[in-house]
């Protein structure tokens, strides 16, 4: 697996030289666009990090977890991974921090550790992606896109907690 990406890049550059494409100029031209792309994302990143940090520092996320844990425990999601499930849609680095906390407290190979791992691996930062993707369009009415994505991630999380019982 670790060979795949380097081989692809080497093969691409070799093929491009063979086709008499100026690899150096093309690479630089493409790389140039990275700064505007990343800079356009920056304010959304800032706003998201601010909210996630405030949620954790003020203890509000812990309150929400306490409040919503009974129904989630009914569908088989342990309370310890709920905070992960809550922060995950907003921030990748925030949820990685929570995952590390879970590993430290319960161990990586415990049921809770496995659940948290699978949830982290199979879900995505829904709100972050929506901010980034739609930041450069004029779209105002998103319809059901975000609820669908959240629901699918949650469904994946429930399945994760079921599957981990068999590990």
């Amino acid at each position: 697996m670790s060979y795949l990406v380097p081989i692809l890049i080497v093969a691409l550059f070799a093929f491009a030289s063979f086709k008499r494409v100026n690899v150096y100029n093309s690479f630089v031209d493409g790389a140039k666009q990275s700064i505007p792309t990343a800079v356009a994302i920056f304010p959304y990143l800032f706003a998201t990090f601010l909210m996630v940090n405030a949620l954790r520092a003020s203890g509000v996320s812990a309150l929400i977890v306490d409040f919503v844990s009974p129904p989630f425990q009914l569908v088989g999601i342990p309370k310890q991974v709920l905070e992960l499930l809550l922060i995950r849609p907003f921030s990748g680095s925030g949820s990685l921090a929570i995952l590390s906390d879970v590993y430290n407290t319960y161990g990586t190979d415990s049921y809770v550790g496995n659940c948290a791992s699978v949830i982290m691996g199979s879900s995505e930062t829904v709100f972050y992606i929506s901010a980034v993707y739609f930041s450069q369009t004029r779209v105002k009415r998103l319809g059901w896109a975000i609820p669908i994505a959240l629901f699918c991630n949650l469904a994946g999380g429930i399945l994760a907690c079921i599957l981990c019982r068999f590990l």
Partner: protein, 189 residues
Amino acid sequence: MNAIWTTLVIICFALLTATNPNSVLTLCVESGKQAVDYTFQLVAIYALWQGVFCVAERCNLVEKLAKILSKLNNFLYGNVSKQAQKYLALNMASNVVGVGNASTPSAIEAIKLMEGGQKLSRGGAMLFVLNACGLQLVPTTVIGLRATFGSQNPSQILWPTIVCTLFSLILGVFLTNIAYPKKAQSSNL
């Protein structure tokens, strides 16, 4: 997003001000620093991949890739322009290869081309849902982190993770298909 963000920030800041007023500004500045750090990481990652993609584009490989994936893309995104199809194919390829964040620049370009109006179209919705349901199957970051934390078997979560990702992916495609039906073939494309 506006309602969620504003409500949560007001509540959290009010609580923090009541318990520990000094922490509020520190938290804001810390978040800003995190965002700056992360943005620079993104610049580096995007520079590499946009550079590589540009090389691929100039030797017409992206066009070929788009042709190979055209059936799948047509099924997923409906009728979109040639240029958008190229970015959609790139997005699909970088997700399948599993390089974190490489899929974002192509997704942004594709969505810019597909979304002209104020109402989200099927193509944009599908692209968003696919990426937000984890088109990226192999959880390299999590497996790495498990190894760092001394797991006996870091990759034992691989199969459940792939099953869960596929499950939410298929569910996502299914629901998006219902919520954003394909338009009848339009002639002005």
